[in-house]
Every structure is written in structure tokens, then in C-alpha cells.
């Protein structure tokens, strides 16, 4: 087992994943979120959402609400907070249950229509 996080290296995982951690301390041991949040589901704080009115919430909850003042995908929130995605999902479930955020899942089954694909190709060419 390596002592350092694999996150410090510019390569994918090598022989083993990172250090043994207890990341779910923050969630009080809960590992299952109330909702399935896709990695690219956008999270948006409700207008006027005030986590201070919920004293049971942790600082990480409040940071999530602050970050989500504009739409931010779940994966970016996890990266910004430097927390595992699974942990962030649990925290987001807490916020959703309190009506502090809305979650906008990506359209799962349907492929984007052709106009969108064309916009992606054009956008990539313009990079």
C-alpha cells in the first residue's frame, strides 16, 4: 500500500489504489445517497438558499451550496471540495432533502440530437 494519494501523480492508478481512508466520517457513516446523482448532473442552489438555517449541516454542506450558486456538475463539486464523489453524493442528498438545491440529471437514454452533435464538432474545430 502506498503512503501517498494517487491523486498527486499524473498517471492513472498504478499497482494499488490510494491510502486506506475513512472518508465517510463526514457523512456519519452513511454511504448511500438518497438520490442517484450522475457525475455530470448539474447542481444548482435554490435562490436564497440559506444553509445557516440548518444547524445540523456541516461546513462542507455550506460550501456545496455556495459553489452551486451557478450550475456545477457533481464531479466538479467533488473535485472542488477534494472529497470522494460518493461522499459528495450523500451530502447533496442532505441538501436536496432540505430543499436547498435542485439537481438536473443529464438526459440518460436519448442521444443528443444532430444539431447538438454538429455544434460539438464545430465547437471543437474552433478550439
Amino acid at each position: 500500500m502506498r503512503a501517498e494519494s494517487p491523486g498527486t501523480q499524473h498517471q492513472w492508478l498504478d499497482d494499488d489504489a490510494g491510502p486506506v481512508v475513512r472518508p465517510y466520517t463526514l457523512t456519519g457513516g452513511r454511504v448511500r445517497s438518497s438520490h442517484r446523482f450522475d457525475l455530470v448532473a448539474y447542481v444548482l442552489a435554490e435562490p436564497g438558499a440559506d444553509p445557516a438555517g440548518h444547524p445540523d449541516l456541516q461546513p462542507e454542506h455550506r460550501r456545496l451550496v455556495a459553489l452551486a450558486s451557478r450550475p456545477v456538475p457533481v464531479a466538479e463539486l467533488a473535485s472542488d471540495l477534494d472529497l470522494a464523489v460518493g461522499v459528495v453524493r450523500v451530502l447533496l442528498g442532505d441538501l436536496l432533502a432540505r430543499g436547498l438545491i435542485t439537481v438536473h440529471q443529464p438526459p440518460a437514454a436519448n442521444l443528443p440530437d444532430n444539431d447538438i452533435l454538429k455544434a460539438v464538432v464545430d465547437g471543437l474545430r474552433a478550439l
Binding site: 494517487p6 494499488d16 465517510y24 457525475l39 450550475p71 473535485s79 435542485t102 454538429k118
Partner: protein, 198 residues
């Protein structure tokens, strides 16, 4: 789940398209994501619990050791309503369950092949073929690696004739862009509505 778009310029929900970057260990996945991302590649982690990997089993979690798997991802903003997210895939078999999550709803995938270790990308190709996820193969041209003709590589990979196979240099954005464009055009072609080349 609420999908109603909110009003206001900063509160509009963009559409996020997910593209996977797969391939064997050391094939250049992280390099490609880095070259294409408009921000420094972001990183997040997924937690693996010791026993019930991927099962979200809450029972006894406090007694299990957990490890984390880092996942690299990058972002390309096409316009204010459209963003492309690139996710590098974990390179080990025991993390396949993470692939399922990554692949869910994905537009398609880029499989990077290293001609020095071509077989390393076979599992990735199998994965996307089995699930009907559109993919292209990018042959990453490493310095000093022996060059093969694309036709030789195609035969070695036993690729369907319609799967695009492109040479690329994962370090260079322009080159990486061409791979992504090949993928999106492939997706459009598969649907029978080709995106016309400019």
C-alpha cells in the same frame, strides 16, 4: 427529478456530454485529457469499500477499510449551453464497476492504443463493443515507437470496418481534437445523420 430550466443567465442549466477516454495503462489517457481540458485536469475520487465493492452496502461499513480510486476529468466548453466532459477510465480490471457508472449516458469513448502494447486496449474495446457504446480508436504515436500502418493495427485489433481508427499524439491539443471530432462524427454516422464536414 426536476429538469425545469431556471431563469437567469447564470442559472441556465447547460447540457453536459460525457466522453470516456480509455485504453491500457500508460497509453496516454491522462495526457489526452490534460491536452484537451480548458482547465487544469480535475480530479475526483471514488471510494471503494473493502468488501461490497460497487454495491453501496451500508451494513458494517464502519469495519471495512476503504481505498480510493482517482479519476481524472477535463472540461471543454462548447458554448454557454453545452459542455463536454472527458473522463479518463480507471485502468485496472477490478475497477470495471466504475466504468459502468462512467459509461452511463456517455456519448461515446476514445480508446487509446499504444502499438508497443496493443493488447492492453483489447479489454476497453470489448467493453464498448459489448455495450454498444460508440468508440473510436486513437493510436497514440509515442516517440520512438515503431510505426505500423493503420490497416495493420486495424487487423490486429480486429476492429469492425466502421470503427474509426486515427493516429494521434495525445500530448497535442490539435491532435486530440481530431480524435474527438472523429468520435462525434462517428456517433452521428451511426445514427444515420452524418455531420457534414466543413
Amino acid at each position: 427529478m426536476d429538469s425545469v430550466r431556471s431563469d437567469g443567465p447564470d442559472r441556465r442549466i447547460p447540457l453536459a456530454l460525457k466522453i470516456l477516454v480509455a485504453g491500457g495503462f500508460g497509453a496516454g489517457k491522462t495526457t489526452l485529457v490534460s491536452a484537451l481540458s480548458e482547465v487544469r485536469p480535475l480530479q475526483t475520487e471514488e471510494v471503494l469499500t473493502g468488501a461490497g465493492i460497487g454495491t453501496d452496502d451500508t451494513s458494517g461499513v464502519e469495519t471495512k477499510s476503504t481505498t480510493t480510486v482517482a479519476m481524472d476529468f477535463g472540461r471543454i466548453t462548447i458554448n454557454e449551453d453545452l459542455q463536454v466532459y472527458l473522463f479518463g477510465t480507471p485502468g485496472q480490471d477490478r475497477f470495471w464497476f466504475l466504468w459502468d457508472e462512467l459509461a452511463f449516458g456517455a456519448l461515446g469513448a476514445v480508446v487509446l492504443a499504444d502499438t508497443r502494447r496493443l493488447a492492453d486496449c483489447f479489454p476497453s474495446i470489448d467493453y464498448f463493443e459489448e455495450r454498444g457504446i460508440p468508440f473510436v480508436v486513437g493510436v497514440n504515436c509515442f516517440d520512438g515507437s515503431r510505426r505500423f500502418s493503420l490497416e495493420t493495427v486495424r487487423q490486429a485489433l480486429d476492429l469492425d470496418p466502421d470503427v474509426p481508427l486515427v493516429l494521434c499524439d495525445a500530448r497535442h491539443r490539435q491532435s486530440g481534437k481530431e480524435v474527438l471530432i472523429a468520435l462525434v462524427e462517428h456517433v452521428a454516422r451511426q445514427r444515420g445523420e452524418p455531420v457534414s464536414a466543413i
